[in-house]
Structures are given as structure tokens and as C-alpha cells.
């Protein structure tokens, strides 16, 4: 059992939790992920590691409430425990030797982009962060990004935070203004990563994306998380989760990611109804 030491609501649907997980904390690196089960009957879901503290033996996760399992996780309080928490899994993001990088974060993906930006900053790399949210009330980690970025560009779909527009608009402006990057690292919704990769391909800039497909075991045993990269099948859990953005078949990844959407919706509605009933009885 793994205790929740801290819980914080970053915005109405995004939660941050600090979990006591000594062994995971000892080995964790940016870009790696964990797999958790909320309770004994729970499904296994992967979440990328948002931060870790080796001395304290803690791992931070940041997640969005998108379905029954993340709802159940969000319902847990400080001091309560999570059934299973295994990791660190996957390969760490390669950060060695980079001089100047644009880190692109979209929505809750910023939770994963931030530790990468932080690590690059600590290694002395020049970091330009371009992050986007739908609107101001969904913004997370603003100060964190600010503190590790040499340049920080804020974007929102509706213009309520920073500039109005997409992260790709901002990245194009930066590149066209003469900024030269060794690499672009994009982490966010698959559709965002697809368009970032399309843009950087135009300019021939190496681009790494962090994929987050459906997984079960996370050790390579089931093959559920497979993607097509450069025409070959890869397993995100052992070969990734980072891949060359110019090689990933994003459309396929989006279709596979939506495979259980109907099931998820039903499971979530049922949980909501149960919850309503319980509240009703207690009232």
C-alpha cells in the first residue's frame, strides 16, 4: 500500500498527489512513468512521473479526471493509501548534451513537460518553454515553468491567458524569428504533438514526443501499448514512452487511444450515479 502524503487541486479537473514510494523515488528520472491501481478491484493505469524526491522517498503524480479510475483516485484523501504503485518504468527522456531546447507542453501534459524542462535547466541547457491551455482557469505549473525557463511563452485557446492561439503558432514565431533549437520536446494531447512534429519537420528540427497509450502490465508482456514508429511496431512501455516525433503514426495512436471510450463513459456514468445515490441516502 502506498500512502498519499499530499493532495492539491491544481485546477477543477487536475489533481496533484505526492505519494510515499521509496523504491520508485530512488530510481525515477524525467520521462519515466508508473503504473497504479487505486484499489483491489481497480484497473492498472500508467501515469508519467511529474516529480520525485529521493531523500524524502516520494513521487509526485499529476493527473486529470478523465474516467472512472482517475475519478476514484481523485476521491482519495491525504493519509489514505493507493493499492499498487510500480515503477519507474520506461526509458528516461534523453537530456544529455543538449544546448538549446524548446519544451512544448499542452494541458495536463505540462505535468510531464515540466520535470524535463527542469532537468534540462539544471544541466545548463537553454530552455524555451511554450505551454498552452484551453483557458486561464485550467492553467497549471505557471510559476514552476517560469522558474526553469530562459524564455516562457504562455498560450491559450480563448486568449484569457497569455496570447490567444495554439502552441504551434508560438513555436513557428520563435523559429521564424531566428531561434535555433537542437531539439524540440513536445508533451501533450496526441493531436498537439502531431502538429508540433509536422511543424518542426518543415524546419528539420529533431523532435521528441512522449506517448501515453493504454497499458496493462507496463513491462512489455501484453503489447497493448504498441504504436507504429517509422513503419515498425514499438511498445511504448519498454521502447518508449519517448519517440521520434517525425516517425510516429499519430492518427493510429489517436484511434487506439479512443478504443474503449464508450466503455469508459459508461463506467464513469455508473460511478457518478452510484455516488449520487450514496449522497442521496446520507442526506
Amino acid at each position: 500500500m502506498f500512502r498519499i502524503l499530499k493532495k492539491e487541486e491544481l485546477n477543477p479537473t487536475v489533481i496533484k498527489m505526492v505519494i510515499c514510494a521509496d523504491r520508485v523515488a530512488k530510481k525515477a528520472e524525467p520521462g519515466q512513468f508508473i503504473i497504479l491501481r487505486v484499489d483491489e478491484e481497480g484497473e492498472r493505469i500508467p501515469l508519467t512521473i511529474a516529480d520525485y524526491d529521493r531523500d524524502a522517498g516520494t513521487v509526485t503524480i499529476i493527473f486529470q479526471k478523465v474516467g472512472a479510475t482517475t475519478d476514484a483516485l481523485a476521491a482519495k484523501n491525504e493519509g489514505e493509501c493507493i493499492q499498487d504503485f510500480v515503477g519507474p518504468l520506461g526509458k528516461p527522456t534523453e537530456t544529455e548534451g543538449l544546448k538549446k531546447v524548446a519544451v512544448i507542453g499542452g494541458g495536463v501534459g505540462c505535468a510531464i513537460a515540466f520535470p524535463v524542462a527542469k532537468k534540462l535547466h539544471e544541466l545548463g541547457c537553454c530552455v524555451h518553454s511554450v505551454v498552452g491551455f484551453r483557458s486561464k482557469d485550467l492553467v497549471i505549473l505557471e510559476n514552476d515553468f517560469d522558474s526553469v525557463s530562459d524564455r516562457f511563452v504562455r498560450m491559450s485557446d480563448d486568449g484569457s491567458w497569455g496570447e490567444k492561439g495554439l502552441v504551434t503558432n508560438a513555436l513557428r514565431t520563435l523559429i521564424e524569428s531566428g531561434e535555433q533549437y537542437d531539439e524540440v520536446i513536445a508533451i501533450g494531447p496526441v493531436i498537439m504533438m502531431k502538429f508540433v512534429a509536422a511543424l518542426t519537420k518543415e524546419f528539420g528540427i529533431r523532435t521528441v514526443v512522449s506517448m501515453n497509450p493504454i497499458m496493462i502490465d507496463g513491462t512489455g508482456m501484453c503489447g497493448c501499448c504498441r504504436l507504429t514508429v517509422g513503419g515498425k511496431t514499438k511498445f511504448a512501455c519498454v521502447d518508449g514512452p519517448d519517440f521520434d516525433g517525425h516517425e510516429v503514426d499519430f492518427d493510429e495512436a489517436m484511434r487506439r487511444g479512443a478504443m474503449y471510450r464508450d466503455f469508459e463513459k459508461k463506467a464513469r456514468d455508473e460511478n457518478c450515479n452510484l455516488f449520487k445515490k450514496e449522497v442521496g441516502h446520507n442526506a
Binding site: R37, F85, I216, T219, M221, C222, C224, T233, M259
Partner: protein, 461 residues
């Protein structure tokens, strides 16, 4: 006076019509009366040919004698001397190619139902025996076992019996390996696996779940922390795909994924938090036991049409005859001498069918089986909404890539000598991680051999 009937007693089973829509065990087990009558068929041969066919060397005639004497606990004792998992082996061992293939009674008629008798003894023990096992006195030596499948559990059990302080590290959240994630409930009830694991724990074996060795902690770190020897029993590894177009469409599963969702995650139960596609027409590609398990699970999930698509003929099917028979009884359709060439997509990226060619058998290949050759111009399609690839696995590189000096073959299997010793001192391996996909009992045999070698190594240190 022995029972000279030429036929062995049939296994009482759930009828196909009923069982194809439930997950309860198909084979119900011998009653005491049947077991006694079957046991009398054993001639108690002096040279015991059957024992030579058993990978763990159970003294078969001796346990069967105990059944005749109605000393069932005594019979269990004989089996346990050699096997850590009697109730499991009585169910999933391919006895027809092992002990029973050597039985003298099989020369004229059917061999003694050794597997069924083993199961009877184990089940009887589990039902009636309530005393707790006293753990043997500890000898002060620590051994780490990686993986809690058949080879790991056997190795752990044998070492614990000798007094070793054994810790088993399991990557998943539940111990049991393939016995839990792979083999379905209707063939091996999970309550039996957890009972066998409980008895190992009673003997003092510690089991730590959520431990992906190579990631959470490396083998070298385990040894630095005081383990004097390590046994690697990490199983078969990554599922193979055919490399044909359409394998990443929605609705295509590896057998590992399909079975893990059902068996480990209980996706077949209403209200399960893990989803699985409920399909109308399913093709399982492959002809082994895993393919049969996947096909029979698909049927139980409610599919109307379930096909086994296999490129050779019935004679070459690697699955046990009993499994093939059960699958047929449950309405699984065998499309033999058929090879998929493409999985077809609908406009949304879901499976809509599979394109196949017909095959014919040519000359025998390196495995001795006649290799299939494509019949030109024989393309045809089968309409489907789900495809399950059950064509084997390739070794998981996780341990190899994090353990310096650990030699592997060109296929990725760990290299060992006859005792399970790897290229590294004090590191042993066995089971599918060494051989590639094989059977539960062969993995158990390897775990047993390695346990003996580990004991000798530590005692001589």
C-alpha cells in the same frame, strides 16, 4: 486384482452447451469411487517407466498405491516430495506426452489416468487438510527468486524446504505469473493457485509484488543487499506479431493482452474496471494451448463465431489434443491450412475482417513438421471484428539489459548450463526465460534443477 479395463475413466465435465457461457472449471475431477477404480488399473511396475516421463520425477506408482490403500494424505505426501504445485500440474500438465505416454497399460488400450489421479489427490488434500505447515528451520542463507510463475514458485518452494530464506519478486500486483494472467479460470481456478501460494508462504517464502526487477532494483543491487544467489524465472516476454498490415487496428489483441485482461484483470465480470471488446466474430491466429485458451475465452465473452486460424493441418497443432477437443465441443471453428495476409480496416480504424490464403503442406522443415506452402490465387476474406495473435513470444530484454555479463542466445533466451547456471556466478535461470514458450511442468522442472544447484553452490561456498 488390478482393473484390466482397456479404457481409462473419463473425466466428469461440464457439458459444452452450459460451459461455453460460464467461467467455472470445465473438468470436474474424479470422485473417490472413480479414483479408486482407476488407481487399480496401475500395475505398479517395478521399473516405473512413467516416472521417466515426468519432468519433476514424481514417484507415480507409489502415490497411486497409496490411493488404492485410501491413504490419500500419504499419496499427497509422495507427490509433494517432487512437486510444489500438485493441484496445478494435475490440471495443466500434458500427461499424454509425458508420464502417461510411458505407461505400460497404454501399449494395449489407454494408459492409467495419472494426471486425473494426481488432481484427485491434490483436491482431496486441499478440501480436507487443515493443519498448518511448520516452516523448516532457517539455515541463514538468503536467495532471491525473480518471477512468481511455475519455475520461480518451484525453485522457491524447494529452497524453502531446505531452510533457505527465500524472497520472490513479482512484477505484477498478484503472484502466480502465467498461472494467473495466462491460463483461464475454467482450466485452472485462481483459488487453486492462491492456495498453492499460501502454502509456500506458510513455509516461510516471502513474496513482494510490484517489483519489476531491472527497473525498481537490479540483480546486482539484490546481491549487494545480501542475497547469495538469484534465480531468474521471468517467463516468456514480449508477444510476437506477424508483421502483416493492420495489426495495430482497434480490435487486434496479442493473446497475452486478451488473456491478461480476462484472467488477471477480470474483464469478463460485469462491473469490472478493466475493459475488453465484446466482439461478434473473432479469429485467433495460432494453434497452441494459448490460442485455444484465447478462443474459448472469446466464446465465453459472447462471440457468435470464433475461429482458430492455423497455417498447418490438424496433425501439426501444437495444442494438447484435449484442449483442441474441448474447443471443438464448445463450437470453435478450425480454419486449418489458412494463413492471414492482412487485417482489414473499416473507415474508423476498427477490424472488419481478415484476408487469408490457403496453404498446403510441403517438405518437413527443421522442426520436423511439414512446412506450409501458399496455394497461389487462393485469397479469401473472413468478416470479423476482433483478431487475437497467439503466435508466441520473444524474450523480455529488461533483465539482460540491466545485468552486465549475462549471456543470452541470438534469440534472446538466457544461456544456462544443465543446472540452470547462467554466465554469471550465483545467478541461475529457468523456464520460458531460457527456453522460450514451453509448458508449466518444464518450467517447474527447471526451477527444481536450479534449486538443487543453488543449494549445492551455497553449501560449498
Amino acid at each position: 486384482m488390478p482393473n484390466m479395463s482397456l479404457k481409462k475413466h473419463e473425466m466428469p465435465s461440464q457439458s459444452p452447451d452450459i460451459r461455453k457461457s460460464n467461467y467455472s472449471e470445465v473438468a470436474l475431477g474424479y470422485t473417490e469411487e472413480i479414483a479408486l477404480d482407476e488407481a487399480e488399473r496401475c500395475l505398479n511396475c517395478k521399473n516405473m517407466p512413467c516416472v521417466s516421463g515426468c519432468p519433476v520425477g514424481i514417484e507415480i506408482p507409489r502415490f497411486i498405491r497409496k490411493i488404492c490403500e485410501k491413504d490419500y494424505e500419504g499419496a499427497y505426501g509422495v507427490i509433494s516430495e517432487a512437486s510444489s504445485l500438485p493441484a496445478v500440474c494435475g490440471r495443466v500438465c500434458p500427461q499424454e506426452t509425458q508420464c502417461e505416454s510411458k505407461c505400460v497399460r497404454g501399449i494395449k488400450g489407454e494408459p492409467v489416468g495419472i494426471g486425473r489421479l494426481e488432481r484427485f489427490v491434490a483436491d482431496r488434500h486441499n478440501e480436507t487438510f487443515t493443519e498448518h505447515v511448520t516452516p523448516p528451520e532457517k539455515n541463514g542463507h538468503r536467495v532471491a527468486v525473480i518471477g512468481s510463475g511455475p519455475s520461480g514458485l518451484t525453485c522457491a518452494g524447494d529452497l524453502a524446504k531446505k531452510g533457505y530464506d527465500v524472497t520472490v519478486f513479482e512484477a505484477l500486483h498478484t503472484p502466480g505469473g502465467v498461472l494467473v494472467y495466462g491460463i483461464p479460470e475454467f482450466r485452472l481456478p485462481k483459488s487453486i493457485v492462491s492456495r498453492e501460494i499460501s502454502s509456500l508462504k506458510e513455509m516461510g517464502v516471502k513474496i513482494e509484488t510490484n517489483m519489476v526487477i531491472g527497473k525498481v532494483i537490479s540483480i546486482d543491487e539484490l546481491m549487494e543487499s545480501g542475497f547469495e544467489a538469484v534465480f531468474i524465472g521471468t517467463g516468456a516476454g514480449l508477444p510476437r506479431f506477424m508483421g502483416i498490415p493492420g495489426e495495430n487496428l482497434c480490435g487486434v489483441y496479442s493473446a497475452n493482452e486478451f488473456l491478461t485482461r480476462i484472467n488477471l484483470m477480470k474483464a469478463y465480470k460485469d462491473g469490472s474496471s478493466t475493459p475488453i471488446a465484446r466482439s461478434r466474430s473473432v479469429a485467433v491466429v495460432g494453434g497452441g494451448n494459448v490460442a485455444m485458451d484465447a478462443a474459448r475465452c472469446a466464446k465465453r465473452l459472447g462471440a457468435e463465431n470464433v475461429y482458430i486460424v492455423y497455417r498447418r493441418s490438424e496433425n501439426e497443432l501444437p495444442a494438447r489434443a484435449e484442449e483442441v477437443e474441448h474447443a471443438k465441443e464448445e463450437g470453435i471453428v478450425f480454419r486449418l491450412l489458412t494463413n492471414p495476409t492482412e487485417i482489414l480496416s473499416d473507415e474508423k480504424g476498427n477490424v472488419r475482417g481478415i484476408k487469408c490464403v490457403e496453404m498446403e503442406l510441403g517438405e518437413p522443415d527443421s522442426s520436423g513438421r511439414r512446412s506450409p506452402v501458399v496455394k497461389q490465387g487462393s485469397d479469401f476474406e473472413i468478416p470479423l471484428d476482433c483478431v487475437i495473435m497467439a503466435i508466441g513470444t520473444s524474450p523480455n530484454p529488461l533483465i539482460k539489459s540491466t545485468t552486465e555479463g549475462l549471456e543470452v542466445t541470438k534469440h534472446g533466451g538466457i544461456v544456462t548450463d544443465g543446472n540452470g547456471l547462467t554466465s554469471r556466478t550465483a545467478i541461475y535461470a529457468g523456464g520460458d526465460a531460457v527456453t522460450g514458450a514451453a509448458t508449466v511442468i518444464l518450467a517447474m522442472g527447471a526451477g527444481k534443477t536450479a534449486a538443487k544447484a543453488i543449494d549445492e553452490y551455497i553449501q560449498q561456498k
